[in-house]
Amino acid sequence: MTIDRAVSPAQRALELLGDDLTESTLKRYLDGIPGVDAVGLEQRAAALGTRSIKTSSKVWALDRIIELIDLTTLEGADTPGKVRSLVAKALTPDPADLTTPRVAAVCVYGDMVPYAVEALGSAHAAGTDEGINVAAVATAFPSGRASLDVKLADTADAVAAGADEIDMVIDRGAFLSGRYGLVFDQIVAVKEACRRADGSYAHLKVILETGELNTYDNVRRASWLSILAGGDFIKTSTGKVAPAATLPVTLLMLEVVRDWHRLTGEKIGVKPAGGIRSSKDAIKYLVTVAETVGEEWLQPHLFRFGASSLLNDVLLQRQKLSTGQYSGADYVTID
C-alpha cells in the first residue's frame, strides 16, 4: 500500500491532472490508459517494416538517417583520445565524400563532455540549429542505482561542462514496484538540474530501458509518466540491456507522442537506441515515424537514433548509391 504523498508540481501534469496532483491521481491516470495488444502491435510494426523504399526516397532517407544520429561511445574504456576521434567522425563522417551530412550529436559519459566540447570547437551547436550537440548520459547511467543527490550532481556536472542534452535513466525498480510518484519526482528534479546559470535548460531525454520494463503496457505507462514529468524526449534504452530498441516498442512510444500532441499540441521527441545497426532497419524506423506521427518528426529536435555502428552501414549504402558498387568495411573509417 503506497501512502499518498505530494508529487512535484510539474507544469504538464498540473495542466492535465489538475491541481490536486498526488501519487494516487497519477497512478489512476496511468492505469486508466487503454491497454496494448502485443500481437496487434507487433503485426503493425512488421507491416510498416515491409515498405519498399527505393531510388530517390532511399537517397533522401540515408542522408536523413545520418542527420538524426547521436553518435555514441559509452564504454568504461573511453578516453579523451577516443572521444576526439568520435567527434572527428561526427564532423566528417565520410572523408571521401564531403557532401555527407553531419550527425546530430555525439553522446558520451559525463566526464567526457569537456573533451567533446573542446574537440567540436566552433562546430559545437550548443543548442542552436547549426553544428553538433553534445549529449551526456547521467543519473548513474545505465542502472540508475544511486541516491537522488548523486543523480542530480551527475546531471548538473555534465550541464556545467557544456552538455546540451542529458540522457537520464528512470528508476526501473521504483516503476516496477508501482512507485510512480518516485519516478515522477526524480524526472522533475533531474529536469531542474538541467537548468543552466542563464535560466535556459539542457534538453532532457528520458531513458525508459524498455528491455527491463518487459511489457508493452509498462512501456506505454512509462512513456506517459516521462512526458508528464517534463521530458523533452523519450528514449528506449541504454544499449546496455537486451533487448534494446525494437520496432514495436518504438512504434508504441511514437503512438504516445502522437496522442500527447493531439491532446496538447506539444511535440515530444523519440529516440530508439541500441541494436539498430543496418540502414535497412533504420529506414523501417523512418517509415514508422512518418506513418505514425508524421513526416514533421523526422528532424533532429524530434527524432534521434542512438547508435554507433549504424553510421558506417549508412555510409556504405550511400557510396553504393553514388557509385553503383558496394565497397567494403575498409572504405569507411572505424571511428
Binding site: 496494448v36 496487434g40 515491409t50 526516397s57 512518418a290
Partner: protein, 480 residues
C-alpha cells in the same frame, strides 16, 4: 517531394510467362472450348491480359466425364499416402512459383501485391500442406474407420481470392479422394490456369483436377450436371439460393459459403491503436472484397468520437493505387460491375442521411477505383447497415451496453463472422458465446489458418471449410 510520397517500387511482371490465350484444362491437357472466348483484363488499367476459353455445356460434360474416369480408374484406387505425396508436391510448387502467382493474382484481380505476396499465396501453400497431411489419416477424422470419398466434386469459386478459394476447394477434395471440376470466376481465371500448369508439373494423374472457365451459365451447367456427387460454392447469396434449389433432392452433397455483413464490436476498454488497425484491416483489406469483412463497426458510444477521429487519421495514410507497387495498401475494384454496385449503395447511404467521409486521395484515371469510405451516423435501418456492399465502405454504428452490442450484431440475415475488441478476456468469451456467426475474431480480424473451420450461419451459407470439418465435407458419413 515528401518522404511519404515513396518513390515507385513496382514488382516486375517480367517473371510472368503468359500465353496469349488459354484453353480449358480437361483430362490433364489444355483443350479448345465450344463457346466464344473472352478477354480477361487488369482492373487497374483495363488493359487486356489474355483470351480465355468459354466452356459450353458439352465442355462441362467432357470435364465431368474426365473427372469421373479419373475417379474410377486412378484416384479412388490410390492409397492416402500417395494422394498426400501429390498434394505435398503441389504445395511445394506453389511455394517455388510464389512470386509469379502473386504477380498474376494482383494483375488479374487488382489486389495489392503485398497482400497477394504475404497473405494469399502463402495461405494457398499452407492449405495444400495441411490437407496433404490428412490424406493418409482419414481414419482419424472422427468419421469412423475408412471413410469413403464422394466421387466427383463440382466447385465454383468467386473473384475476390481467386487462387486461395481454389486451394480451399481443391486441397480437401483431393485429400479425401475425390476428383474435381472447378470453375474460377469470369473476371479472375488467370491464376487457376497457372495452377493447371503446376498440376502438369506435379504430374497429377490426368482428369483428377479439371479447370473450366466461363461465366454464370457454365457454372450453372456444372453444378446441375447429373454425374457430380458434391457441389461446393462460394459467392453471392442469390446464386447460393439458386444452387440450393436446383440441387435439392438430387443426393448431391452441398456446401455454400455466401455473403456476410460482419459486426466489428469495439468496447471502451479496447486496446485502441490495435483496434484501429483491426478495423482498417477488417474492411479495407482486399478493397473490402471479403465475404467476412467487418463492414459494420459497432463502437461503444463513450469512445465513438475518439475512434472515428483516430480512424480518419489512419485512413489518411492508406495508399491507394497501382496494385503491383509494393507500397500500395488498397488496390483496384475488381470490375466495372462491382464498382457500380459500390457507388450505388454509397449514394443510397448518403441519401438516407448517413455522413460520408473519404480521405483525400488521387485515383488513377483508367481502371476501377473507389476511395476508402466511412459512413458515420448510420442507423440499423439504413441499407448500408443491412446489405453487403463488398467494397471499401465502412458503416459506423454505436451501442451502449454489451447486450445492445450483441443484439445489433446479430440483427442481420447473415452470420459469417464477427470481431470483438476488449482488454477483458471474460467479456470477450461471454460476448462471443452469444454471437450468431461462424467465425469470431478477438482483438484481431481477417486472420485465416487451414486448421480452423470457416463458414456461416443463416444466409451466409452452410457447411464448413478448413480444418477437420472441411475434410468431412468431402467424405461420406455426415458432417462433424
Amino acid at each position: 517531394m515528401s518522404f511519404l510520397d515513396y518513390a515507385p517500387a513496382p514488382e516486375s511482371t517480367a517473371i510472368l510467362d503468359l500465353k496469349p490465350e488459354y484453353g480449358l484444362f480437361i483430362g490433364g491437357e489444355f483443350v479448345a472450348a465450344g463457346g466464344e472466348s473472352f478477354t480477361t483484363i487488369s482492373p487497374a488499367t483495363e488493359k487486356p491480359i489474355a483470351r480465355i476459353a468459354h466452356a459450353d455445356s458439352s465442355d462441362v460434360d467432357r470435364a465431368v466425364a474426365a473427372a469421373r474416369k479419373a475417379y474410377e480408374k486412378t484416384w479412388s484406387k490410390l492409397s492416402g499416402r500417395d494422394r498426400g505425396k501429390y498434394l505435398f508436391r503441389i504445395a511445394r510448387l506453389v511455394q517455388e512459383r510464389a512470386r509469379e502467382l502473386a504477380v498474376a493474382e494482383s494483375l488479374d484481380n487488382g489486389k495489392p501485391i503485398k497482400e497477394s505476396r504475404d497473405v494469399d499465396v502463402p495461405l494457398v501453400a499452407a492449405w495444400f500442406f495441411y490437407y496433404a497431411g490428412w490424406a493418409d489419416k482419414l481414419d482419424y477424422a472422427g468419421l469412423g474407420a475408412n471413410p469413403r470419398s464422394l466421387g466427383v466434386a463440382a466447385q465454383v469459386i468467386p473473384w475476390n481470392f481467386p487462387l486461395l478459394m481454389l486451394a480451399w476447394k481443391i486441397a480437401p477434395a483431393l485429400a479425401a479422394g475425390n476428383t474435381v471440376v472447378l470453375k474460377p470466376a469470369e473476371t479472375t481465371p488467370l491464376t487457376a490456369l497457372l495452377f493447371a500448369e503446376i498440376l502438369q508439373q506435379a504430374d497429377l494423374p490426368a482428369g483428377v483436377v479439371n479447370i473450366i472457365t466461363g461465366a454464370g451459365e457454365t457454372g450453372r451447367a456444372l453444378v446441375n450436371h447429373p454425374d457430380v456427387n458434391k457441389v461446393a460454392f462460394t459467392g453471392s447469396t442469390a446464386v447460393g439460393r439458386e444452387i440450393a434449389r436446383s440441387t435439392a433432392g438430387t443426393g448431391k452433397k452441398l456446401t455454400l459459403e455466401l455473403g456476410g455483413k460482419a459486426a466489428n464490436i469495439v468496447f471502451d476498454d479496447a486496446p485502441i491503436d490495435q483496434a484501429i488497425e483491426g478495423i482498417v484491416n477488417g474492411i479495407f483489406f482486399n478493397q473490402g472484397h471479403v465475404c467476412c469483412a467487418g463492414s459494420r463497426l459497432l463502437v461503444q458510444e463513450s469512445i465513438h468520437d475518439d475512434v472515428v477521429e483516430r480512424l480518419k487519421s489512419r485512413l489518411s495514410t492508406l495508399r491507394v493505387g497501382d496494385p503491383l507497387d509494393k507500397n500500395t495498401d488498397v488496390g483496384a475494384i475488381n470490375s466495372a460491375e462491382q464498382l457500380a454496385r459500390i457507388r450505388e449503395l454509397s449514394d443510397i447511404g448518403e441519401a438516407e442521411g448517413a455522413e460520408r467521409w473519404s480521405p483525400e486521395c488521387s485515383l488513377p484515371a483508367d481502371g476501377f477505383w473507389f476511395a476508402p469510405t466511412i459512413f458515420t451516423n448510420v442507423s440499423t435501418s439504413h441499407r448500408i447497415a443491412r446489405e453487403e456492399i463488398f467494397g471499401p465502405v465502412l458503416s459506423v454504428l454505436t451501442f451502449r451496453t454489451p447486450a445492445e452490442a450483441i443484439a445489433k450484431a446479430n440483427n442481420t440475415p447473415y452470420g459469417l463472422s464477427a470481431g470483438i475488441w476488449s482488454d477483458k478476456g471474460s467479456r470477450i468469451l461471454a460476448v462471443a458465446d452469444k454471437l450468431r456467426a461462424g467465425v469470431i475474431w478477438a482483438n484481431t480480424f481477417n486472420r485465416f489458418d487451414p486448421t480452423s473451420p470457416f463458414g456461416g450461419y443463416k444466409e451466409s451459407g452452410y457447411g464448413r471449410e478448413g480444418g477437420r470439418h472441411g475434410l468431412a465435407a468431402y467424405l461420406k458419413g455426415g458432417d462433424l
